[in-house]
Symmetry: C2
Subunit: 125 residues, 2 copies
């Protein structure tokens, strides 16, 4: 099994409609995802059993966890306990974020794969 | 408790001597770390009970997991099962990587805090 792989080798999944897509690596305890959000992409309030931590890599997001809200650029992080409601909206230029979950998001196995597009990040130079 | 925070608000820890430093957010199941590796920084072979997944954000690393080796830039990922030996060396310009662990690295609580320096990433514009 290959354990050292470019994230762009992994299939692109439609996580939330057509505007939120992700590639992931999956371990025994963790799902590690690079999520591409289109400009203005809107993930309405939701919750899930898995704990979720993450960080903005590029672009900007408006994040809400419970009663806490913040607009964040690169380096902005979140920590979401199991089942806590949260929502996020990408800024006008979209965003690329890392999201990690434990336990792994087995429910993502059922997500549709979408035709690969030029990754928003990393940029090919 | 604040759950939406810039990673740079968190203390800088000396993870591996003076050349590998990290800031982290800690959940119930996951430690999420942004690790700054100095140019040529060398983390010799080691292993730990926690599973570790991660990705290069900036710069380059030579990574080895067991018998698998790869030189990777931004977007290069790793998946390291519990107790599997691994080592990593930063490229000539250093590297910034995300490393996530489950269970959390409680042993990091004992790491020395180092005087904060200008973060390697994200760059202040």
């Amino acid at each position: 099994m290959r354990n050292l792989t470019p994230i762009t080798d992994h299939p692109l999944l439609a996580v939330w409609g057509d505007s939120v897509r992700a590639r992931r690596i999956v371990g025994e305890r963790i799902t590690f995802a690079v999520v591409e959000m289109a400009p203005g992409a809107d993930v309405p309030e939701h919750h899930h059993p898995a704990e979720q931590l993450g960080m903005v890599i590029e672009g900007q997001v408006d994040f809400r966890i419970g009663d806490e809200t913040r607009t964040m650029g690169p380096g902005g992080t979140w920590r979401i306990e199991s089942e806590v409601p949260h929502q996020v909206k990408a800024g006008p230029d979209g965003a690329v974020v890392v999201d990690v979950f434990s336990p792994p998001r087995a429910d993502w196995d059922g997500l549709p794969m979408v035709e690969d597009s030029t990754p928003r990040w990393p940029r090919v130079e």
